[in-house]
């Protein structure tokens, strides 16, 4: 297959496919308005890029190895190669087409992307890569294809940010293949602007005895469409997926993740938490599949949400397909409004209403934030989450240091672990 065929096929699929083709979700999905698919803004994020890069370096100690600014891509990592789609080999094109058969969003991204990022971690190597994805009025469409060979290690952090208030879009495909006895830690913080449509596709396959830990934070964007899959391909492979959704005002988020146990003794955990305010809408669609022959495997899907206002709407739609008997699978979904009695208790101790609400949100998602293993990424994620709680700011670059809104208490500090890492409410 050559690029012209690839592009034609992608364009055809984009034109023909509906946004949601699966029966079980036909009535429960966020539709991205058509106009977002045909945007053709000219501006890059421009000066905004320099400001973001500086703020993240100065305030959070984060340096980026891969920077994507509109159509420009730059990599300083020896693990990450930029490939011109027009020159891509047929192997790469095939992977991109086959991982998302008949998916309108994948087809859109594949037809529009001009460059892809190919990350290769060779046998026994360890890579740490931080990628910054900025969209201006000009949308960003890009694919990341990650290949981690046996015994390899990867820590891959993606930060999404935009400097525009106008309509724009970010479309990302992540495809990762993790070999045997390998380790992968993926973190993605989506902090796009308030008028940006976010399309986030991810597909990861994990080999024998390997471990994947992945964290998604969705705070930005006007519409967020996330479709992901983790396939526990090798025996005794493990994955932990941690999703945090924070939506305010009119934000609409649709987070669909499937965990597939495809081998003996594999273990997958998916935990999704959503905090919703104002008129925001969120759909949490976790799905567990256990394939035939995956004996002794375990699967846990847990969705919970906290509603800050009675105008916010949550739909938790858990699903399961179990094709093997000798397994352990658990599924749960829960939703709760802010509890007035709890609030009264906190207020009675002198804490003001605003702070009490934040304490309750911290109580709800704090544990999930803590799980983000990378100190710098966690500091940034926490600062965006808590800043937004305070100001309802969507897509702002955090100009505050992590520790002005979030108290990072590390084990080596004197507080003796008594005061756990937490939101600093004052």
């Amino acid at each position: 297959m050559d690029y012209n065929e690839f592009k034609r096929e992608s364009e055809r699929q984009f034109a023909e496919q509906p946004q949601e083709g699966r029966d079980m979700y036909k009535r429960n999905f966020i539709k991205i308005p058509e106009e977002y698919f045909t945007l053709n803004g000219k501006s890059k994020s421009g000066q905004h890029a320099d400001m973001v890069i500086k703020a993240l370096k100065d305030n959070f100690g984060i340096y980026f190895d891969v920077i994507i600014d509109g159509k420009d891509i730059l990599s300083t990592s020896r693990f990450a190669k930029i490939v011109d789609m027009a020159d891509a080999d047929s192997g790469l094109l095939k992977i991109l087409l086959e991982k998302y058969p008949n998916n309108k969003f994948a087809a859109l991204i594949n037809s529009k992307s001009q460059k892809a990022v190919v990350i290769t971690v060779k046998k026994g190597e360890s890579a740490k890569i931080n990628a910054l994805v900025l969209n201006g009025e000009d949308p960003v469409y890009v694919q990341f294809v990650v290949n981690v060979e046996d015994e390899g290690n990867i820590e891959f952090f993606q930060f999404f940010c935009s400097g525009v208030k106008e309509k724009s879009a970010t479309g990302i495909i992540n495809i990762a293949d993790i070999g045997r006895n390998a380790n992968a830690n993926f973190i993605a913080v989506h902090n796009e602007g308030s008028e940006t449509a976010v399309m986030n596709l991810h597909h990861t396959e994990i080999g024998e005895c390997s471990r994947l830990s992945q964290h998604f934070v969705f705070t930005g964007g006007s519409h967020v469409k996330s479709m992901g899959k983790v396939k526990l391909r090798g025996q005794l492979s493990e994955s932990e997926t941690n999703e945090i959704v924070e939506a305010v005002l009119d934000q609409k988020m649709d987070v669909n993740t499937e965990i597939v146990n495809a081998s003996k003794g594999s273990a997958g955990i998916l935990e999704s938490k959503a905090v919703l305010s104002d008129n925001s809408v969120c759909m949490l669609k976790g799905f567990a599949t256990i394939e035939e022959g995956a004996t002794g495997s375990r699967s846990l899907v847990k969705e919970s949400s906290l509603l800050m206002d009675n105008t916010a709407r949550i739909e938790s739609i858990p699903g399961m397909a179990i094709r093997e008997d000798d397994v352990k699978a658990t599924h749960s979904a829960s939703t709760a409004p802010i509890d007035e009695e709890n609030l009264f208790y906190l207020l009675s101790r002198g804490v003001d209403r605003n702070s009490a609400m934040k304490l309750m949100v911290d109580g709800f998602i704090g544990g999930s934030v803590l799980k983000i293993g990378d100190d710098e990424a966690r500091g940034l994620a926490a600062s965006i989450i808590y800043e937004k709680l305070k100001n309802k700011s969507i897509g702002l670059t955090p100009e505050n240091k992590a520790d002005t809104v979030y108290e990072v208490v590390r084990a080596d500090e004197k507080a003796e672990d008594m005061l756990r890492e937490h939101y600093k409410y004052r």
Binding site: D339, E340, E341, N342, F344, Y345, L346, L347, S348, R349, G350, V351, D352, R353, S355, A356, L359, M360, D362, G363, F364, G366, G367, K414, A415, E416, D417, M418, L419, R420, H422, Y425, R426
Partner: protein, 249 residues
């Protein structure tokens, strides 16, 4: 009258919840440093009184007033009442999973006392008080009341009182659900905290057992939303020997 001591005055208070009148004209004065006990059978409205003083959102004050140092607090928010120095020990403290007990108390302490207490002083006092209350295990790291036993919850409330140092504390049945040893520990700690800080206490109980360890000066009996008797230790004796029947004329 001592001009420096805080004074809480409850004047002909009527409180209703969901359209039903629960407190039906109650008057009571409590000064900083004084020790009062309010006794009454289950359902007489004792808990409602404590929550009304603290400004519970579901309770409506339909008549009467509550004043602190002569100023009405009816329009004050709950957290501002706490900042004045009023504290409520909850009969049934709620559980909030995910908020660390120590973290929360540290935040509350900051809200109440600003930056006058350093974190290390806070931690020191927290540890010492926990030890005095004979908390087993490391409760600091646990979530706020989540999974606490009945006794641990009450001790947790006393620990909060010790740290926050209110001027007037309403203790809603600090003895219910506790075994004898725990009652003694709670009572002795409250006595000590109150003495040290000159705290005014309104001890609420429907059972006189805790009074073996605590010596209130003023006794009030509440039945069906009203105070039916005021006096001293002789009233406790009357309740012990004849129950509340004797007060329902």
């Amino acid at each position: 009258m001592n001009g420096e001591n805080m004074k809480l005055e409850i004047r002909n208070l009527h409180v209703s919840a969901e359209g039903k009148e629960i407190i039906k004209g109650l008057s009571l004065d409590i000064n900083e440093g004084e020790f009062h006990v309010l006794m009454g059978p289950n359902g007489s409205g004792k808990t409602t009184l404590g929550k009304a003083i603290m400004g519970h959102p579901k309770l409506k004050i339909t008549e009467g007033d509550m004043l602190v140092d002569g100023k009405s607090i009816l329009n004050m928010k709950t957290d501002d009442r706490a900042k004045l120095g009023i504290f409520l020990l909850f009969q049934n403290p709620i559980e909030v999973d995910g908020i660390g007990f120590a973290n929360f108390l540290h935040s509350a302490n900051g809200a109440m006392h600003g930056n006058t207490v350093t974190t290390s002083d806070f931690l020191k006092e927290f540890k010492e008080t926990s030890e005095k209350l004979k908390f087993s295990g490391n409760m600091a790291q646990r979530s706020l009341n989540a999974g606490f036993s009945g006794g641990e919850k009450k001790k947790g409330e006393v620990l909060q009182m010790a740290i926050l140092k209110p001027k007037i504390a309403i203790l809603d049945e600090p003895d219910s659900g506790l075994d004898v040893d725990a009652i003694k520990i709670v009572a002795e700690n409250v006595n000590e905290i109150a003495k040290r800080n000159n705290t005014g206490i309104l001890l609420i109980t429907h059972y006189s057992r805790i009074l073996n360890y605590m010596k209130p000066v003023f006794t009030h009996v509440m039945i069906n939303g009203r105070i039916v008797a005021n006096g001293g230790a002789e009233i406790i004796k009357a309740v012990e020997s004849h129950g509340y029947e004797a007060f329902t004329k």
